[in-house]
């Protein structure tokens, strides 16, 4: 399949300070004593207690998916047999791996945490997104050196495999390390009607390099 037959339906950008839906800033209610990701979760009014058990990488991917579906008629509880997920990032699950390491550093205080351990793989984020939204197609995550629009561009047509009956693809960059959040998630398919824009390098980069907003400190 050629990339010029694909279209971006939704584009979500989450940085450490900003959220954008389809390129438009989305205001987050900031609360003292809450993390940035928790503030986004509470602003969205989602009821999904498992969110608080996730590592930061999974939280970031989870929230990006919630934002993808926000304002659409797509419901999380509907089975999505023709959907796939394809993610890339640089730091794998290192943010959580460091937390796990802290639980086993001291031989005299050696208590490996099972709930932290289960997130010491970068592909768990695709699983959390799939479980929440009943996405039944294939899910993959890859580690790359940096964000590269060409990599997303080339792989979308593979993810949207007509042979496997996949019609909708969540594809993007989901990176989280040491309080630095860097997420770009697209919903891509073949429908031109109502699409946001075409799936090409210029448009992918437009949503990644979106200018951030000025902020007042809390």
């Amino acid at each position: 399949m050629k990339n010029d037959e694909l279209y971006i339906q939704r584009a979500i950008r989450i940085t450490s300070t900003d959220v954008f839906i389809n390129g438009t800033p989305f205001a987050i209610n900031k609360e003292e004593n809450s993390t940035w990701l928790t503030c986004i979760y509470r602003t969205l009014g989602v009821q999904y207690p498992k969110f608080f058990k996730m590592d930061n990488l999974c939280k970031a991917g989870f929230l990006a998916t919630e934002l993808i579906f926000k304002g659409t008629d797509i419901r999380p509880e509907e089975e999505k047999r023709d959907w796939s997920i394809l993610l890339f990032n640089k730091s794998s699950s290192l943010d959580n791996d460091q937390l796990y390491q802290e639980t086993i550093n001291d031989p005299n205080n050696y208590f490996p945490s099972p709930s932290v351990f289960v997130y010491t793989l970068s592909n768990i984020v695709t699983g959390e997104m799939a479980i929440r939204n009943k996405i039944m197609g294939e899910t993959c995550s890859y580690i790359t050196e940096k964000f590269d629009a060409d990599v997303l561009l080339e792989n979308a047509s593979i993810g949207l495999s007509q042979e496997k009956g996949i019609h909708h693809l969540l594809i993007g960059w989901v990176e989280y390390l040491n309080d630095h959040c860097d997420v770009l998630l697209f919903l891509v398919d073949r429908k031109s009607d109502g699409a946001l824009t075409s799936w090409n390098k210029t448009n992918i980069e437009k949503y990644f390099f979106i200018p951030l907003q000025p902020h007042d400190e809390l």
Binding site: T38, P49, F52, K53, F111, P112, S113, P114, S115, V118
Partner: protein, 86 residues
């Protein structure tokens, strides 16, 4: 029943299991921890086993013991008060 220990356990469980939306008073000490109660899962069970050892010096001989001990916070508190080494 040791009410101080029950309260302490509620606070510890909220913290280690990341039950962020819950307060100690939301938890019924006699309600089942798994299934219809707090709805905990198998990873939570492992985390409770770690909590028992780390905070109270109780090392369960096998994980299946937890099935009985973790029936409710009251039962857990009773077991801890009888077996704790710290």
């Amino acid at each position: 029943m040791d009410k101080t220990l029950v309260q302490e356990l509620k606070e510890e469980i909220i913290e280690v299991l990341n039950l962020e939306e819950m307060k100690p008073e939301d938890i019924d000490a006699s309600a089942p921890l798994f299934g219809e109660g707090l709805g905990l899962d198998s990873i939570d069970a492992l985390e409770l086993i770690v909590l028992m050892e780390k905070n109270y010096g109780i090392k369960l001989k096998n994980a299946s013991e937890g099935k009985e001990i973790f029936r409710s916070i009251e039962i857990m508190a009773d077991y801890i008060s009888k077996n704790r080494t710290k």
